[in-house]
């Protein structure tokens, strides 16, 4: 299996070069913004790893990235592109909060699973809509998920301002748009006291292994990958392609919904404005960077978690808008996707080499 290791090594090298490439181009933007890229990147990369705070915050960010990323892996592998994780996170978060706040007296052993189930179901239904639209009416899933994001956001904002607003906000007259706190006995336990890192991390890691087993070791996973890789052949083999498209989107939505749940139960303990925090988009980047593999998505999520934390620190230290990280993420997507071309066409590299070094390589015929 040495060729396999070789392949993995090559992939890692290509990914690193993609990241470096993205950062180099990002540096140009930093220069344009009249700041020192060396200093900015210095803060961005040393920050997350310099102390306990940086490391734990990185992991706090990695949890929702990983959960969203796992959903992305499932949907992309099934041949359906899910841009709707933002909305699905919100659906999951609000569903979980609603259940948790309305059944405060239930013991944790019952309430906690119920809350997770509620969040996954809400996210799953929200994702499933896009899947259904595609399967039944051939509505392009990119368009529908983007629009469903907007709809979810508006419903979410309405709920946390109106029906589900914290009664205290009303009685104090402050009116901050957020729900009541969920009962304390279902807050996810802290892994390290005094930090924000919570047991949702372990949950997400377990789920990554589960998704891997599901996709590659079960017959249903086989079918979903078959639908993604060869829809015509899947239909020929008797697989109900439409049904698996809906299922894939529902599972992807469910995963994103769970990201919403852990943000509520592990970090904020309520639903509030800005809860999804762009995880729905960054999760796509993490999944792509993890080569659309559930286990590859784990380190990728940690990496992008670190980049998010680093960008915040950079903003504070050198006064660069943290939105810079969006630019870098966008560049990473571009670089990773085009590096796919490299991996699939080994001759492309040779061709470029020939272009660059021209006749030098020619005479000997490559011995």
């Amino acid at each position: 299996m040495s060729s396999n290791y070789n392949g993995v090594f090559k992939q890692i090298m290509v990914l690193i070069s993609a990241l470096v490439g993205a950062l180099l181009v990002g540096a140009l933007f930093l220069l344009l913004a009249k700041s020192d890229p060396v200093k900015a990147y210095g803060v961005m990369f040393s920050g997350p790893f310099s102390d306990k705070f940086g490391i734990t915050e990185t992991l706090v960010r990695a949890v929702p990235l990983l959960l969203v990323g796992l959903g992305i892996v499932i949907s992309f592998r099934s041949g359906i592109i899910n841009i709707g994780a933002e909305g699905q996170i919100l659906a999951g978060a609000i569903g979980a909060t609603a259940v948790a706040t309305s059944l405060p007296d239930l013991p944790a052993v019952m309430l906690l699973p119920l809350v997770f189930l509620a969040g996954a179901t809400c996210g799953g239904l929200w994702g499933g809509i896009a899947g259904w639209l595609k399967a039944r009416l051939s509505v392009n899933e990119i368009l529908s998920t983007v629009m469903l994001n907007q709809i979810a956001l508006q419903i979410y904002l309405f709920l946390i301002r109106g029906p589900l607003i914290d009664p205290k906000e009303v009685s104090y007259g402050t009116g901050v748009p957020q729900t009541a706190l969920i009962p304390e006995h279902i807050w996810l336990s802290k892994l390290i006291p005094g930090t924000r890192i919570h047991s949702g991390l372990i949950f997400a890691l377990l789920l990554a292994v589960l998704v891997y087993v599901f996709l590659w070791k079960t017959s249903s996973g086989y079918r979903m990958r078959a639908v993604g890789a060869g829809p015509e052949a899947a239909r020929y083999a008797g697989i109900r392609v439409e049904w698996y498209l809906v299922l894939a989107m529902a599972l992807a939505g469910g995963m994103a919904g769970l990201a919403g749940v852990v943000e509520v139960a592990g970090v904020h303990h309520r639903s509030l404005e800005g809860l999804s925090a762009g995880y729905g988009f960054s999760g796509i980047v993490a999944a792509l960077f993890g080569r659309l593999h559930p286990l590859g998505t784990i380190p990728a999520s940690v990496l992008f978690g670190a980049l998010l934390v680093g960008a915040d620190m950079m903003q504070r230290a050198v006064n660069i808008p943290a939105a810079m990280i969006m630019v870098i993420q966008g560049l990473v997507v571009l670089f990773v996707v085009s590096s796919d071309y490299f991996l699939q066409n080994p001759d492309f590299g040779a061709r470029i080499k020939a272009k660059l070094f021209g006749e030098k390589a020619d005479g000997e015929g490559g011995k």
Partner: protein, 509 residues
């Protein structure tokens, strides 16, 4: 555009892919006005060699000499600049554009295209070579043979004087194939050089001046066509004598396994592609469907497999009506199906060999228990299949997309026959297969027949049909013209029926 190619040489070309040596120190030569045929079994490395010449791949070693000068061809556009054109087996045309627009696509340096001048030049080219083609026709309106001619015009328009054709006749009707051969002769007489890859030895004999035979990536013979024969070429290719497979054993069909009663179905264009087809296939019989493709063959196969809806009529499979059944129910009911498009329908190119071998049974024991794929069972099943069906592959994990055409077909065949179907539909199963693989496939179909499977064999190759079928039905414009026992079928009668002439054939028969 470069100077005219008077002489081409590929010297010591070696190309390695993970686990396979696709070309090993291959030498070929070609003079102006010459037609060189490249022969070889599936996977011998023919396409790889041509892709290298066309700049799609870089050789690991060796060089290409044009008119004695060493050149490096980094991309198809550089190949075109040097005067090398290639017609791929899968056409690269835009269906919604006209012929003229397709020909100049990607050429125009200006924003506005000068369609008038282009049309005039296309006319000149078509007149010179006697290529009948209307520059204003839309590509989607054209038959496969005409589309191929557009590809050729495209290459000529770009100034190609060395033309590579990779299995050009595999998808053509016999008539179209004859026309193409004529055209190639014409072009070589006018001073163009041609490299032709084909598995059909009669074509090679008819048109080529020289033949280079590849075996396992190496040149094993280089002969003048005049000094050789079909038999010798076959022997050189396969390394042993070939004898065509024939039916033997008494014809004693059992009960019907597949029946179609007055079946109607619409084609992709919305018209009736099947207009009242009735057929009956019995256990242990091979029923051939002859006819020019495009007369409802594709729809016939799809309707039986449940992949296309019937608009009227009834299908009975293994004693149960299957007209409304889902594809998976039909598979359970005992239908095997070797589809026409084996690459994208018969297999999933990015899936490994073992994954493709369980495509239809992945959800059942012994391959799946309690939702979990049983790796060990699957692997031992797959490796025995690979061995039994002679699938040439480095590993079981190799994606089928990396296999050569003949080996992909073996994967499909292995899967479909091992499932022990009651009825087997095979659509153009030997298209693009080398003679060895064709013989092998025929022997497998005959084996299926003697095991009591009812086979429906759709083909355009009359020799194939008369060799292996018990009865032959001729399909014309969605209707069965006639079903005749093979003893009464000769090429002339079949030809008449295929052209839609029933009465005369009736009188003669």
């Amino acid at each position: 555009m470069g100077e005219k190619i008077e002489h081409l040489e590929m010297r010591g070309i070696t190309k390695r892919f993970p686990g396979v040596l696709s070309n090993n120190k291959v030498n070929i030569q070609l003079k102006t006005g010459e037609v060189l045929a490249i022969l070889g079994e599936n996977g011998a490395g023919k396409t790889t060699l041509m892709n290298i010449l066309y700049g799609l791949y870089q050789p690991d070693a060796g060089k290409i000499l044009l008119n004695g000068k060493s050149v490096r061809i980094n991309s198809p556009s550089e190949a075109i600049e040097l005067g090398i054109g290639m017609v791929h087996q899968h056409f690269m045309l835009v269906p919604t554009l006209t012929v003229c627009e397709n020909v100049i696509l990607g050429l125009s340096k200006n924003f506005f295209m000068d369609l008038k001048t282009a049309a005039k030049r296309i006319k000149e080219i078509t007149d010179t070579y006697g290529l009948a083609i209307n520059p204003d026709a839309y590509v989607w309106q054209l038959s496969v043979g005409e589309q191929q001619r557009v590809e050729i015009v495209k290459a000529l328009y770009r100034g190609a004087n060395l033309l590579i054709l990779d299995e050009p006749t595999a998808v053509l009707t016999p008539q179209e194939a004859n026309d193409l051969i004529q055209l190639l002769k014409n072009m070589s007489e006018k001073g163009n050089s041609i490299i032709l890859i084909s598995h059909k030895l009669n074509e090679v004999m008819a048109v080529s001046d020289r033949v280079t035979v590849l075996r396992d990536g190496e040149v094993c013979a280089d002969v003048n066509t005049r000094e050789t024969s079909q038999e010798e070429l076959a022997r050189l290719m396969v390394g042993r004598d070939m004898a065509p497979c024939r039916r033997e054993g008494a014809f004693s069909p059992g009960k019907p396994v597949l029946e179609l009663q007055d079946v109607f179905a619409r084609g992709d264009k919305g018209t009736d592609a099947l207009a009242g087809v009735s057929l009956r296939i019995r256990e242990g019989e091979i029923l051939g469907i002859a006819g020019v493709s495009g007369n409802g063959q594709k729809e016939l196969a799809e309707v039986i497999a449940g992949l296309r809806k019937t608009s009227r009529g009834k299908i009975v499979l293994n004693g149960k009506e299957s007209t409304q059944m889902s594809p998976s129910r039909i598979i359970e009911q005992g239908l095997g199906y070797i589809p026409e498009d084996r690459i994208h329908v018969g297999t999933i190119p990015s899936f490994s060999i073992w994954e493709n071998l369980i495509l239809k049974d992945h959800h059942q024991p012994p391959f799946t228990k309690h939702f979990l794929l049983q790796n060990r069972t699957i692997m031992s099943h797959s490796s025995s299949q690979v061995e039994k069906y002679g699938i040439k592959t480095p590993t079981l994990e190799t994606p089928t997309g990396r296999l050569s055409g003949g080996n992909i077909q073996r994967v499909v065949l292995a899967r479909e026959i091992t499932r022990k179907p009651v009825a087997l539909v095979a659509a153009y199963p030997t298209r693009g297969l080398d003679i060895g693989a064709t013989e092998y496939l025929h022997s497998k179909l005959l084996e299926a027949r003697s095991n009591g499977i009812g086979v429906l064999l759709i083909s355009e190759d009359l020799e194939e049909l008369t060799n292996v079928c018990d009865r032959i039905a001729v399909l014309y414009e969605g209707r069965i013209m006639k079903v005749i026992p093979v003893e009464e079928a000769d090429e002339r009668i079949l030809g008449l029926l295929m052209a839609g002439i029933a009465e005369e054939a009736q009188v003669q028969a």
